[in-house]
């Protein structure tokens, strides 16, 4: 059982179980098809023995009709069977993907801080596809194969047991040879694919750095490197060609040798019996050859299925390792009745570190319901981190954060995020229309409401330039919108959702003065009437708020109104001087 872990594969069963009906149907159809497949040669045998040899034509029409019928049934059964098994597989894997994605959504931000995205994506794509092979290559219906093999063997024995045993004695060594060659083919392919992907990686890099290559006059050297790598690929390919050629010849020779054997044993036998009744008839000989060939086909497949099983084991190990990551932020099992949403925020001696390095140190402040507060500080002071803690993307290491008098950890995450809306610094647009991006699938926000929110921020001004207006599709990551327009869309989202608390991380990107003006108005509109904690980069924003908190290295160093802080001529005053400079050159 090298490389195959049945306990691991058994964990897949819950995903297949709901679709087991397809599987059972597939199996039954497989058996039906096999039965037909096993009967057909027998009909030919009957035709030869009963009709052709003695020259008796009466009744051959029935045989022909049966032949046609069985052929048709086999065809239909096989078509349906492939489809049923694949239905089971595709549906099971769809469920698995759903489950994986839901799991990914539950994993906390800290998990992704230390896990490369590419690896996670690989679980949902490459690894799930490896499991798909279990179905498409017929591993799950291997039972059907075994039944087929047993039946074919029984028929062979019934036809002529001596001939069967004789053939089976001689054929296995030949079978072993093809098995061996098959293994080599697989290994050669494996090596070839590795060379190929190395070559592609090389190409990718050289094409990306082409200007550098040319500037440093490395053309010849790079060409020589490529030559070497490409030769490696060629040689690996030649190895696969070699083994594959041998394999195809071996398979064919195996067939011919079997025929020769049967003729030899069977024919000799028939001669000895002088064509007597119990001896081998011509029809039997023909049928025998056919059955033998049918007997070997699934045998050949078995080694391939073994490899599929090994791959599937590796893939499921990775998939379940991911599913077993149990790091979700704890949520209250039975949430206590929550206070009505008023929008009061309290940070109570909150300390936090991402990885060892403290980012917030004993931070305490309170934001009254409806109050608008700006967070100001240099890059890296910890402003964004405050918002991340407020929306519970992370939990504080020490201290606590209260929303309406209740610790954040007592809120179900969904409820918390309904009360506190985060506008992140980097606007993120989903694929879909502009309106979709405002509604974001919230059932309570209909098109009317989304449009009303957009109108309040004057989105219609820029939306008008699209032929389809609000129904214009947003291209990949919002390529067809400018930075300012994207921000406006992200503001409209929040306005439509109308949360009691706003956590706003203002973007720093440069926009033209017209857009700048519109953004200022939008921020004002956004903060109106709701508790707001805004990381501010605009002078207009800090002028607009009730109170300003100045953060320095994770500590609160100054606090007050704009005028008051300016008068103090401290850190804040210097920061504003910087902001007030306007854009460079």
């Amino acid at each position: 059982m090298k490389g195959i872990d049945l306990a691991l594969l058994r964990r897949l069963w819950p995903f297949v179980r709901p679709h087991r009906r397809h599987l059972v149907r597939g199996l039954l159809l497989l058996l039906l098809g096999s039965a037909c497949r096993l009967t057909l040669p027998y009909l030919v045998k009957l035709a030869i023995d009963r009709h052709l040899t003695p020259g008796e034509l009466v009744g051959i029409g029935w045989l022909a009709a049966a032949f046609v019928a069985l052929g048709a049934i086999e065809m239909a059964a096989r078509r349906r069977q492939m489809f049923e098994v694949d239905s089971a597989g595709q549906n099971a894997l769809l469920d698995l993907r759903r489950r994986l994605f839901r799991h990914l959504q539950r994993l906390p931000a800290s998990y992704y801080d230390r896990t490369p995205t590419g690896r996670v994506i690989g679980r949902l794509t490459t690894d799930v596809e490896a499991l798909n092979e279990l179905f498409s290559s017929g591993v799950v219906t291997v039972l059907g194969d075994l039944v087929f093999l047993a039946s074919a063997l029984a028929i062979l024995l019934a036809l002529d047991w001596r001939l069967t045993l004789a053939t089976l004695l001689v054929v296995p060594p030949l079978g072993a040879v093809t098995m061996f060659v098959r293994g080599r083919v697989r290994r050669a392919y494996h090596a070839m694919r590795a060379e190929l992907s190395a070559m592609n990686a090389f190409l990718h890099e050289q094409v990306g750095g082409m200007a550098v290559n040319q500037m440093f006059r490395r053309e010849e050297r790079v060409a020589a490197d490529y030559d070497r790598i490409s030769s490696g690929v060629r040689d690996a390919q030649l190895r696969t060609v070699r083994w594959e050629s041998i394999l195809s010849a071996a398979v064919e020779m195996l067939g011919s040798f079997t025929v020769a054997l049967i003729v030899w044993f069977g024919g000799g036998h028939a001669l000895a019996g002088g064509g007597a009744g119990d001896a081998l008839t011509l029809g039997t000989l023909f049928a025998f050859i056919e059955y033998m060939q049918r007997f070997f086909a699934p045998l050949n497949d078995l080694s391939m299925k073994w490899a599929v099983l090994q791959n599937a084991t590796t893939a499921s190990r990775r998939i379940f390792a991911l599913l077993d990551v149990d790091e979700a932020l704890p949520e209250p099992a039975a949430p206590p009745p929550l206070p009505p949403a008023r929008g009061e925020i309290v940070f109570d001696r909150v300390s936090f570190a991402y990885r060892g390095e403290p980012v917030l140190r004993e931070l305490s402040f309170r934001v009254a319901p409806g109050e608008r507060v700006a967070l100001v500080g240099a890059t890296g002071a910890g402003k964004t981190t405050v918002l991340k803690l407020l929306t519970r993307l992370y939990d504080p290491d020490e201290g606590r954060i209260l929303l309406d008098g209740r610790d954040l950890r007592e809120y179900p995450l969904r409820e918390l995020r309904r009360r506190v809306a985060l506008v992140a610094q980097d606007v993120f647009l989903f694929e879909g229309t502009i309106l979709d991006n405002i509604r974001l699938g919230a059932p309570e926000i209909d098109d009317e409401r989304a449009r009303a929110a957009a109108d309040r921020l004057h989105l219609d001004e820029f939306v008008a330039r699209f032929p389809r207006g609000y129904q214009e599709p947003v291209r990949e990551r919002g390529k067809n919108l400018s930075a300012g327009e994207k921000q406006l869309v992200s503001f409209a989202r929040v306005l439509a959702a109308a949360p009691p608390v706003l956590a706003l991380d203002e973007a720093t990107s440069n926009v033209d003065s017209h857009t700048e003006h519109r953004l200022q108005e939008a921020v004002h509109e956004l903060m109106a009437g709701r508790t707001s904690l805004a990381v501010a980069h605009r002078l207009s924003t800090v002028r607009d708020v009730d109170r300003i908190l100045v953060l320095h290295r994770g500590r609160l160093v100054e606090e007050g109104s704009h005028a008051g802080l300016m008068a103090r001529r401290g850190l804040y005053e210097r920061l504003v001087r910087l902001q007030g400079m306007g854009e460079e050159a």
Partner: protein, 605 residues
Amino acid sequence: MRELLLLGPAFRRYRWRYLAGALCIVGAVLLRLLVPRYLGDAIDLLRQAASLGPGVAAEPEALRPLLVRAVLWILGVAAAGGVVRTTSRLLVLGTSRRGIHDLRRRVFAHLLRLPPSFYAARPTGDVMSRVVNDVQFVQSLLGPVFLYLAENAALYVVCLSFMLGIDPVLTGLGLLPFPFALWRARRIAAEVQRLSRASQEGLAEISARVDESLSGQMVVKGLALEDFDYARFERRCREYRDLNLRLTRTRARMQALMIGLAALGPLVVLLAGGPRVVAGGISLGDFVAMLLYLQFLAGPTAVLGFVLSSLQRGRAALGRLGELLATEPALADPPAPAPLPPGGGALAVRGLTIELENERGEPRRVLDGVSFELPAGRSLGVVGATGAGKSVLLRALARQLEIPPGTVFLDGADLTSLRLADARGAIGYVPQEAFLFSASLAENVALGRPEAGEEEIAAAVAAAGLAKDLPQFPEGLATLVGERGLNVSGGQRQRVALARVLLLRPRLLLLDDPFSAVDAETTEEILAALAPLMRGRTTVLVAHRVATVRRCDEILVLDRGRVVERGSHAELLAAGGRYARLEARQRARAELAAGLEEGGEDEER
């Protein structure tokens, strides 16, 4: 079929192998078809024995040697067939791999000649698709497709001649379903290939969705958009499942077709031929051989559908590759290159105007009549707003961009009259975006001079201000960096690119904002370290920080492609123009940063 001309060299070079391969294919087919022949003989023999009836014991024994002969023939023919068949595959498939290696080299050599503007105009993925996918399609054209076509042609010719020899009418009847099957197979194959591609794209789509969700998780989590995000992912997955099920259904149709074809031919023969066997029109052995021939033809006929589809794809790929190879590099050596005159890198730019096409394909004047003289050994600073044309100017000087003749002179020689390699050898250019290869740090520095010694490399690294960062690299200069290595910061990247150029000691240094991602303090250190190196060298230094260009002998202020101010630092400050305003703003910012202690500085993440 003109596309196929591209394969000319491959076929010519390997024509003997291909010819031998084709002969082997014919031989293998003949040998394979002999097996039914001898089987038929053996069967007739047995039938003869049977017809003699029981009790004639002596006669069958007389037949035994004949049987032995038949068996030996089968064995011998099978063995020979195996050998010839293997040889044919080795020859044809092997040669296709060799031929494709040649083609790959040819394409890559061409890519190396294409100028930066070619790569700027298309994503790396497109270029990769040419070199990887299209070449793959062509490979199947040279190998498997050729093999199948040759094999099938031979199979058909030989089978048909055997079958016609047995009974023309029966042959005709038996082959009746074939044209229809071929037509169906062709359609199904095209559909299978279409769906496979769609399925691949579907998987890529799923991967893109997951990628999007993970990179947007701040928003997804922060706005509790899990369900929304999930619904979008789920829809893709469902579409993907449906696509795959359709693919399976289509594949099943192909299988059914194969089975049907394999059963239908024999059935027809059975029905039509049965009576003739009984009537003695054809021998039973011939009859059985006929059945087997039909089966031989059934499989390949269905596969032919796929082969024809691949043929079409291969031709399209060849067309695209042909186009690529026909692209003439816009930036090439002059027909009669002038020798590079000796000198210290004196630069003269006279009325340099450059138009580039914007995204909509409209030409835009990016540099407009830029002129300046830079005597050997002097330094020139260039400042200006984003998009002013600083980078374009440097790319033009670095021979990365096509320029009109008679506009740029290096040590008195028109830059366009020099061989590209000569010009690039004399010029050291550090682009704004530094590119690192997946190689060791040392190899990345020694890019232009792989033979450089360790000490030289260390000196260049030190001069570029990278030495103090070395402790961060686990294996020092031997640390693997780049896409598949350690992730290095933007500032470190820039300094590697700088070290690379310093190692070459070119006469003209072109530095495009090499300190944009390096903090002010480190920039100062590097500039101080660079001073002795720059002293004997002509230098053009682009910067966004005034402090960086302050010490240059002359400074140009670019605005929308035009030189709007020029002079030394002191002169420009005194003039009180754009440069002076920029300087005042930046000074205020620097003071502020100093006031906020170390922690208050702009940090590059």
